[in-house]
Symmetry: C2
Amino acid sequence: MRILVAGGAGFIGSHLLDRLVARSDVDQIVIVDNLWTGLGKNFAHLLRLNKVEFLNEDVESIGNIGPFDEIYHLASPATPLHYMQHPTRTISANVAGAFRLLEQLKTGGLFCYTSTSEVYGDTTVSPQPESYRGAVDCTGPRAAYDESKRCVEALLFGEHRVSGTRVKVARVFNVYGPRTRADDGRAVSNFVSQALRGQPITVFGDGNQQRCWGFVDDIVAGLARFFWEDGADFPGPLNIGNDQEISVRDIAEFVRSRFPGSKIKFLPPIPQDPVNRRPDLTLARQILPGWECAVQYEEGIDRTISWFRREMNT
Amino acid sequence: MRILVAGGAGFIGSHLLDRLVARSDVDQIVIVDNLWTGLGKNFAHLLRLNKVEFLNEDVESIGNIGPFDEIYHLASPATPLHYMQHPTRTISANVAGAFRLLEQLKTGGLFCYTSTSEVYGDTTVSPQPESYRGAVDCTGPRAAYDESKRCVEALLFGEHRVSGTRVKVARVFNVYGPRTRADDGRAVSNFVSQALRGQPITVFGDGNQQRCWGFVDDIVAGLARFFWEDGADFPGPLNIGNDQEISVRDIAEFVRSRFPGSKIKFLPPIPQDPVNRRPDLTLARQILPGWECAVQYEEGIDRTISWFRREMNT
């Protein structure tokens, strides 16, 4: 049983790897990552295992190293900071990456893809069920990311329909936790790294915007169940996220409470920042009975703070 | 001045070529086409010109033959018959094709792309302005086409924004006329080729669905004005189509009237066939003052019949 994980150095990819290496049925895991937005240290602890191999390459340019029984495609920048500045590279990693990876899949093998809640764009319904077609401005500044994810979904469901390729597509909502980059622009990592540096915690707008915050352990547990633990051959798309809404302000206040003397600074709101993103988990609860986001934000943030504290050596 | 036309053997591509070769400022035109859905005879009359060269290749695999001053990317299957059966190839022609072509563009060169009204999906507003975000099911049977077009738009507007690449994106609505394939599944070419063969003219549903029918000369005149004739550097997206609605039944009846003894046969409606696709031309009338679809359907169909009659040798 050979597995390929593209984007294994990334935030979610590296957590998924931790669960994949624990599988007794897996003989070899090949990690492909160009370390553009991912971090080598996220999976360095796995390289001592004989079955794990790392290729420092662009996923769309890998050689013929297949066939693989299972392929996990998580290779993509995932924060606006990166993908807004690099449209070609973002689309290439996702779409050309998917082409190249599909060529490495064994006949009858399984192709798993982490899509995103961004396929829903500036939502007009809440919560969003998988059947919601979205409201993405395909010419807008975030479009390279949103549309490349939509395009890979189209590719995978197309090949599923036409060629019978086994696919599983998860639409991952907002995630936070250890192994994010301090500079990735996500709210929790921003707040924590700012507080650790003794800088003001910056909140855009009044902070009353509600967001769903999925702790990475919960999210990756859901992905593992969907992708390989539960036997069902349901191709998706399947929403994976936390449907409990907490305001940005509450998160910021909590981080502040952990750093005596720290302050919150309110900045002007970000234009086109989507404010309404919440998963409809009806389908997830059918496909993955019993799964839910169990970690409350206080615990999740405390665990994130501990990790950042070690990483930033303070 | 060197120009590349990808998809020049296609229906719209070959008509655009006829106008491009007439430009006195152009020294060389390289046509790239793999003749998958296009027809070599559509541009064979141009090959005697010294300035025209043809490469029978997949657009995504062309060598380094640039730089080009202008690139026209029309390489894509355009009817459900083809793109529903070939999701990978459809997405590759559009998206990987765009990557490869962008690499062949001279710095400061112009990249023109024929997108489609299909980016609007199963529309919930009519007519559709360019600002309408669409309602495409990115997992559906038509998604490979719709989403690859959306993804290339995202790529081009992203590079326009980030790198200053000069782009022009037209969203082309329903087109008919000479040089379509008899077997391409489009309504007019279907009706005409059926009548010419003495077969019944097949209408799906009751035929009362309204459609906008753009005669190819009008549509390509609009593209030529937008892409190179008018000087404006407006990147688009720009709707190009006919906003006058005529029912499928009226078209079928008119074709029947031209073939004494021919009959219309009504078949069950096609599932997920979009019924509401009509361009809002407000922007087109601002950008291209005076341009409009002038050919009435009776004349356009008569010209299409004449062409098919010659082609089918009857």
